[in-house]
């Protein structure tokens, strides 16, 4: 476990030594903030004390920001040759993948936590104060976190396939997009109507929606955990395959 912690610390340090951490947080907060308070359809205009804007737009911001966080995870190690340094130290591939994954998760949380300021503002603006759908809000935060953590795992996986960060970014973006809405689109196809429910259940959107309603179903949690586990397992296999 201590090896995972060491790797985690080093990754987080790299994020904060560079611009990535600050940039991700700024883009996320400012972007969401603009839609929240300024652009047409904002909270003040509609007058509804709810966080819906965050939960509708959050996934789309994540879709771009999380691949940007994870693209360097392994691509950079390959390019600089430092992967050889890592893999010849007494740590397992699994520990390396976990260390990098937790660092990405940490950054997702780091971007998500400041949005609590918006939440508090909305709670205080409510009439009467505190008049907000607590269950739905908590559920939506859990859904957003589940989505973010899954995107991070997929991003890590994409990064194990190439030494080019741009390629890692674009393939992660595509994979996340497909997992998020792709199956929903497929289920809309006319000749697939017979299996449309099963199809949409494979996609993340259905589970995200279900959690965001405020009903945290164990099946949805299980779904996200499975996605994360599979992506990390594949990443580990990818690293092991490098030895051949």
């Amino acid at each position: 476990m201590s090896a995972v912690l060491t790797l985690f610390q080093k990754e987080v340090q790299s994020f904060f030594n560079g611009l990535i951490a600050y940039l991700v947080m700024a883009v996320f907060l400012i972007g969401i903030g603009l839609f929240f308070w300024l652009f047409p359809g904002n909270v003040l205009e509609t007058g509804a004390a709810q966080m819906d804007i965050l939960f509708e737009l959050g996934p789309w911001f994540f879709l771009f920001l999380i691949p940007a966080i994870t693209m360097r995870a392994f691509a950079e190690e390959y390019r600089n040759g430092t992967i050889e340094f890592l893999l010849t130290k007494p740590v397992t591939e699994w520990q390396i993948v976990l260390g990098k994954y937790f660092a990405a998760v940490f950054l997702v949380l780091f971007a998500l936590i400041p949005t609590l300021i918006y939440l508090i503002t909305i709670i205080l603006l409510g009439n009467p104060v505190g008049n907000i759908d607590t269950g739905a809000t908590i559920g939506a935060y859990i859904g957003l976190a589940g989505l973010g953590f899954s995107f991070a795992a997929i991003g890590i996986l994409a990064s194990t396939f190439t030494d080019n960060q741009i390629v890692a970014f674009i393939s992660a973006l595509f994979l996340c997009f497909f997992m998020y809405t792709g199956f929903e689109f497929l289920s809309d196809l006319e000749y697939l109507t017979s299996i449309n429910e099963q199809l949409s259940a494979i996609g993340m959107l259905a589970h995200y929606r279900s959690v965001s309603r405020g009903v945290v179903d164990i099946r949805d949690v299980f779904y996200f955990v499975t996605i994360i586990f599979i992506a990390l397992l594949l990443s580990q296999n990818r690293l092991k395959g490098k030895k051949k």
Partner: protein
């Protein structure tokens, strides 16, 4: 036996990088691994460090199989890969801490090890700089510091002095020699003088085959390495016909009308015979140098003719 390699074979895309090679390194020995670029040195080292898997064969470090006890073996090895990859965005101190923790060092132990390694490699003045800001020489020291940090039994150094200036090369060499007093070292190089300067024993490899595995002074005495006399005469037309009867004489090669290369079999010193012939023919010697058998001659002969 500190390092044992037996019947190692590795194929990349149908091309044999290693062809059934075997060698051993005893505890406390410094072995130079010599060969032209692409000979298979790096492949062998990567296999020993658990970074690559061979197609077949055995590799052991201190009696442990590299493939079955990979994690344990990696604790016993200090490895400096070719091109010395480092995290450029970390500070030297930070990087060493990271490397040490990965090897299981912690707390006070880690700090004292870092301190002593920094002292040993002469990184002191640079330890609070980012690795990206370091000169090549100091980067090389950082790579070496990282390799010896956890006090491993075996050091594997892949071309540790490439890209350094002559002063730095001397410093790194003496550092490696010092380390070799306590540790088993396998280091690779394509520079002959380097192997001669550091190691007592050398394994010469070319195209995946081992061509020689011997003490350096034995190799230098072998017939591949007979001395050559280089003669500069004052007048052209020096006559070597009388030399044919002398037992140490092999053949003569005329470089230009005044310069000759006299190949010997190493048995007899021909210098006296040359002096006598020069007086007899009234053709004074301008200069006469004995090109002592160097590892270079051995190496060239082996790698140019021997490699299958």
């Amino acid at each position: 036996m500190s390092i044992l390699v037996k019947g190692l074979t590795k194929t990349y895309d149908g091309q044999k990088a290693l062809n059934n090679i075997s060698f051993e390194v005893k505890k406390g020995e410094i072995l130079g691994f010599l060969g032209p670029n692409g000979a298979g040195k790096t492949t062998t080292m990567k296999i020993l460090c658990g970074y690559l898997l061979p197609d077949s064969g055995i590799a052991e470090i201190s009696g442990l199989s590299v493939f079955e006890k990979s994690l344990e073996v990696r604790k016993k090895i200090g490895y400096m890969p070719e091109h010395n990859p480092l995290y450029l965005d970390l500070y030297v101190h930070e990087f060493l801490k990271f490397a040490g923790k990965l090897c299981g060092l912690k707390g006070n132990d880690l700090m004292t090890r870092i301190k002593s390694v920094i002292e040993l490699t002469g990184l002191g003045p640079e330890q609070h700089k980012k690795i990206a800001m370091l000169s090549k020489g100091y980067r090389q020291r950082t790579g070496l510091a990282q390799a010896i940090l956890h006090n491993p039994e075996v050091l594997i150094l892949d071309e540790p002095t490439t890209g350094l200036d002559p002063n730095q090369i001397l410093e790194i060499r003496s550092l490696i020699r010092d380390l070799g007093k306590e540790k088993t070292i396998l280091f690779s190089s394509h520079i002959l003088s380097e192997v001669e300067a550091i190691a007592e024993r050398v394994v010469i490899i070319n195209k995946g085959n081992i061509l020689a595995d011997d003490q350096i002074n034995h190799l230098k005495q072998s017939e591949n390495a007979s001395p050559i006399l280089i003669l500069h005469m004052e007048k052209p037309g020096f006559d070597f016909s009388s030399f044919v009867q002398i037992p140490g004489f092999d053949r003569v090669e005329q470089v230009n009308p005044l310069e000759f290369k006299l190949y010997t079999t190493g048995a007899v010193d021909l210098r006296k015979a040359v002096m006598e012939a020069s007086i007899q023919q009234d053709n004074p010697i301008r200069s006469m140098t004995l090109e002592s058998s160097s590892l270079e001659t051995v190496f060239r002969e082996l790698t140019q003719s021997g490699g299958k």
